[in-house]
């Protein structure tokens, strides 16, 4: 009986969008990894063969997830969270190093990337915490606990994988939805603006702008009577930050991270070295035109010019072989999925469900946004997979688990009362 109700209540639109993305992803992985000699599509020595295996393995996984009682996820959220943290800590001891990043466990022939699953555990604990809380993040204590829940895995992952760590910051949107004061967001927003600005523009100009804008703000906002001292303190802090950016940039960031930022702002870039990835990625996407070169016909894809094309750069294959039409189609699929999930999240009556749902959306969206903006030269190169699309068992299964726990929660929402 229970399964029947799940089948009836589960959101098939989301499942359809999920399936379309997974299939489209596999088609492009097939094209990007097809070797010269033809082999079976199940050939496990080939990337596309392995991806197909992962996709098939997702089916029992989904059945398992939707079969488990929703209480299970809520009740053991803390346990999952701790297991997740331990799995990351275990990397320091048992991890396998790939390209300077130790974020894999090697089990049998397959690698497992625990940070992918930690997103789910973090989201579960955050949802649990917020649903238990009384004050809707209005007290500093609650704000602090929420930030710690997000911050601990972030810091642990940061050591191995800067890109993935940055993704956890997206959970701030969830907190904001649940009542986090808006000055957190403003602070983050202004910090980013100042950081980028100080890399591009001379510090003097930025500080002059800060002073000017603060003065204007103070002058026109007569309704709110404020201590002018706060304005002065803010200006001083921001100015200090601007000057520290250069220091951070020169002393804290590692050379390859600096390169990635330089590439983006177009500063003195060698297209055969640090600028290579972005340039090749833009060439591949740019050569697509309206309708692309056709399936399996992409010369850039075939020539293997785009590095890691089947993983983080899989969207370049879409761009080259399917053109603007195909690329837009994929983007629209993602956007449809996001809005569908927002719709589902908003209709939840349980805070746990809603918070978890928003966490899922934030993770998916931040992956999507970082991945694609990276490929088209709008964001620095960070190794982030495209959800459901990129090659990789860990990533595919982690996103599947992340998504289907929410779909299970949603399907079960009627029984909750």
């Amino acid at each position: 009986m229970k399964n029947v109700s799940v089948q009836k209540n589960i959101d098939w639109i989301s499942i359809l969008l999920y399936a379309l993305l997974v299939i489209a992803g596999w088609i492009n992985i097939y094209s990007a990894s097809l070797p010269a000699e033809t082999t079976s599509i199940f050939d496990l020595s080939q990337i596309y063969g392995r991806q197909l295996l992962f996709i098939i393995f997702c089916i029992p996984l989904i059945v398992l997830i939707v079969s488990i009682d929703t209480k299970f996820y809520e009740k053991y959220a803390m346990v999952f969270y701790i297991i997740g943290l331990l799995s990351i800590l275990g990397l320091f001891v048992f991890g396998k190093s790939v390209k300077g990043q130790t974020n894999w466990y090697q089990i049998g022939g397959f690698g497992i990337q625990p940070s992918e699953f930690v997103k789910t555990t973090t989201a579960l604990l955050l949802a649990k915490f917020l649903s238990d809380s009384q004050s809707h993040l209005s007290t500093f204590k609650e704000q602090l606990i929420a930030l710690v829940i997000i911050g601990v895995p972030t810091l642990l992952i940061l050591k191995h994988d800067t890109g993935s760590a940055m993704l956890f910051v997206s959970l701030v949107f969830v907190l904001y939805r649940e009542g986090l004061p808006s000055w957190y967001l403003w602070t983050g927003f202004i910090t980013i603006i100042l950081f980028v600005a100080s890399l591009v523009v001379k510090p003097g100009i930025i500080i002059a702008s800060i002073v000017l804008i603060s003065a204007l703000h103070f002058y026109f906002n007569k309704k709110i009577t404020r201590n002018p001292l706060i304005y002065i303190i803010l200006v001083v802090i921001m100015s200090a930050f601007v000057f520290s950016v250069d220091y951070v940039y020169d002393e804290v960031l590692e050379p390859h991270q600096k390169d990635r930022i330089n590439v983006l702002i177009g500063e003195d870039v060698n297209l055969q070295a640090e600028g290579y990835n972005l340039n090749q990625s833009k060439i591949a996407i740019g050569s697509g035109g309206w309708t692309g070169t056709g399936f399996l016909e992409g010369t850039q894809t075939k020539g293997g010019f785009v590095p890691e094309q089947h993983t983080d750069y899989i969207f370049t294959t879409v761009g080259e072989e399917w053109g603007f039409a195909g690329a837009s189609f994929v983007i629209i699929l993602f956007v449809c999925l996001f809005f569908r999930l927002i719709h589902l999240a908003e209709r939840q009556k349980k805070i746990f469900n809603r918070v978890y749902g928003y966490s899922v959306i934030c993770f998916l969206f931040i992956h999507f946004a970082f991945n694609i903006t990276m490929l088209i030269g709008l964001f620095p190169t960070i190794g982030v997979p495209l959800p459901f699309f990129s090659y990789g068992g860990s990533s595919l299964m982690a996103f599947t688990v992340l998504l289907f726990i929410f779909l299970k929660l949603d399907a079960n929402r009627i029984n909750e009362w």
Partner: protein, 626 residues
């Protein structure tokens, strides 16, 4: 409000991403160009062209390696231009203009920068090529002619032009293609297939090996060798005899239709069109608009056949039953065929068919022709029947031989005359000039030789052809298909006897050879030219057709000498010598040989040139014949 933040961010990011994609994929096309550039490099390997042998397996054309300096304009950078110029012996201006020309063709595809280096130049350049980015050496196979004759048969090879590239995707800029002669006719056989290697470049533009393990690569396949029907010695001798004359010789083996010799005069040494001087030499040959060495007179020259046509008139008369071998006509030094219309003749008397042929009596054949036409109810039927017979000899149509040049000639029919005389009123006498090969009948020397082959065979011929064997292939079936003429074989014997008597007591007796039983017929072709609409009489053409030996013909021949006065003066001796050369162990009539080798018609050709100079300001292409 808090609910809206995430949707707004999603929408903004999506719009930014789509706009950026639109810019990259649609607006900005530099990436499309970049993608073509950096993926693959294509390297061609050119096979050796097939060898060419004569019928006696003598090697006529072999190959020599040639090295072209190729340039990919886009890749030319940071080079010492002056060093390159001095190394290749080109001026800086030439360098710039050549590079500019290559750029116009394509900045990223290779073009020939300097063609056909010698081995020495190649060796010198090869050591230093790595200093010159964008330049590389492409090896090709060029012709190495073992003989200095036969240029009109062989044709030549040159770089493909834009039109070749457009019409056939096989060819790339700088490829070589056969033009004229067998090089053109058997281009696909001779050239083989070039090999292609796709070499992949990595991100550093280094070559990292073959693309997809070479599944798209092909090996160069050598061109097939061909054996021609040409007898190289006869061909060489013919060209020697034709020195200082204009015209042609066609010799055919009647039993097979194999072309034994195809002499075109003036000709040129085929090796002139090889190597770095090629273009200069070609221009010189091309611009010689009077001698026209590149013009294949024997295939494309259309002339009135003159007296040899009387053979056909007689055969048609016999077939139509309007004359027999005993029919006589009396000739009083001419034939009166209408009011004030008179066709002159040189020898008065009462002639039988045999003597008429031997002595080439105009009157006899005018009468025979008149009877053929008048046999039918109206002249239209008559002339159509006559035309039908002639077509069965391959006249008035393309013969179908395997050389890329040629003309149909012309055999008039009733429609033709109806167009000329729309109100009717034409009859046998109107067209009487046809009887002696002077009217509206025109043929190429090749067609004339083919008629001779059909007469030698007593009523059939094979399509003349120049290919004897192709390595790995059979020759076209049409060359082994017998064409039977509409004339009964029995009618040929009296004609053959008459042609034999040409040497015994007729117009060709001065060139007879005791040990050779020849049959022939002289011809003197009236020669007019029209300059600015005015008709000028030029020195007649000298024609001779023959076959030998009489009873087992091994060679049929037609010789045509422009402005050679009359048949017996130039064409007959040359015919006789050619037959001796082919059939006898040595030349018997050395007196004729000496006269022919020393003789020159240059003064005649100067006269023609003079006529053009005095009558017209711009020298138009002279139409020597007609």
């Amino acid at each position: 409000m808090r609910k809206l933040l995430l949707p707004i961010i999603i929408i903004v990011v999506t719009i930014v991403v789509l706009a950026r994609l639109f810019f990259l994929q649609i607006v900005d096309d530099t990436y499309i160009k970049k993608s073509e550039n950096n993926a693959l490099k294509i390297v061609y390997e050119y096979p050796e062209r097939g060898y060419v042998f004569d019928r006696n397996k003598k090697l006529l054309i072999a190959n020599q390696p040639s090295y072209d300096i190729m340039v990919i304009p886009r890749e030319v950078k940071d080079i010492d231009t002056l060093a390159l110029c001095s190394l290749l012996d080109v001026t800086y201006e030439q360098f710039v203009s050549k590079l500019e020309k290559a750029k116009v063709y394509s900045p990223r595809l290779p073009s020939v920068f300097l063609p056909q280096l010698s081995k020495g130049e190649y060796a010198a350049f090869q050591e230093k090529i790595r200093h010159f980015n964008g330049f590389y050496i492409q090896k090709r196979s060029l012709r190495d002619y073992q003989v200095n004759h036969g240029a009109n048969i062989f044709g030549y090879i040159r770089q493909v032009n834009e039109q070749n590239i457009k019409s056939n995707p096989y060819y790339r800029s700088g490829d070589l293609i056969g033009i004229q002669g067998i090089e053109q006719e058997y281009e696909e056989t001779l050239r083989g297939t070039k090999g292609v290697k796709y070499i992949q470049r990595d991100r550093f533009n280094r070559e990292i090996g073959s693309f997809k393990n070479g599944i798209y690569d092909t090996l160069a396949i050598k061109g097939d060798d061909v054996m021609l029907t040409i007898d190289s010695e006869l061909q060489a001798y013919g060209e020697l005899l034709m020195q200082n004359k204009r015209g042609g010789i066609v010799a055919i083996e009647p039993k097979t239709g194999e072309i034994l010799a195809l002499v075109n005069a003036p000709s040129y040494d085929p090796s002139l069109l090889v190597g770095r001087e090629r273009s200069k030499n070609y221009t010189a040959l091309y611009n010689d608009s009077l001698a026209k060495p590149l013009y294949n007179r024997v295939l494309s020259g259309e002339y009135s056949p003159g007296s040899p046509f009387k053979i056909l008139t007689a055969l048609i008369g016999l077939q139509e039953g309007v004359i027999n071998e005993h029919t006589t006509f009396s000739c009083s030094r001419g034939f009166y065929y209408g009011k004030g219309a008179w066709m002159g003749c040189h020898d008065a008397g009462n002639w039988s068919l045999n003597t008429a042929i031997a002595k080439s009596c105009n009157t006899y054949f005018a009468n025979a022709y008149k009877r053929v036409i008048e046999k039918y109810r109206n002249p239209a039927d008559g002339i159509n029947k006559w035309s039908e017979h002639l077509h069965s000899f391959g006249l008035g149509q393309f013969l179908g031989y395997d050389l890329p040049e040629g003309r149909k000639g012309h055999i008039p029919d009733a429609d033709y005359y109806n167009r000329w005389y729309p109100n009717g009123g034409w009859k046998s006498t109107t067209t009487i000039s046809n009887s002696i090969g002077q009217g509206e009948v025109i043929m190429t020397p090749m067609q004339l030789a083919n008629v001779m082959a059909a007469v030698a065979n007593r009523g059939y011929y094979y399509t003349p052809h120049i290919i004897k064997n192709i390595e790995h292939h059979k020759i076209d079936k049409k060359f082994t298909t017998k064409h039977v003429t509409s004339i009964d074989p029995k009618h040929f014997e009296p004609i053959v006897q008459g042609m034999n008597d040409v040497f015994n007591f007729g117009t060709g007796r001065s060139v007879r050879v005791e040990s050779l039983d020849m049959c022939g017929k002289t011809g003197t072709v009236e020669n007019f030219t029209r300059i600015n609409g005015k008709r000028y009489q030029l020195t007649d053409h000298s024609v001779f057709v023959a076959f030998a030996p009489k009873d087992d013909p091994k060679i049929a021949i037609a010789v045509f000498i422009e402005n050679g006065y009359w048949g017996a003066r130039w064409a007959a001796p040359i015919t006789s010598l050619m037959l001796q050369k082919y059939l006898l162990p040595e030349i018997v009539r050395t007196d004729l040989e000496k006269r022919m080798l020393e003789g020159s018609l240059q003064s005649e050709y100067d006269k023609v040139l003079q006529l053009y100079r005095t009558t017209s300001k711009p020298v138009s292409t002279p139409k020597v014949a007609l």
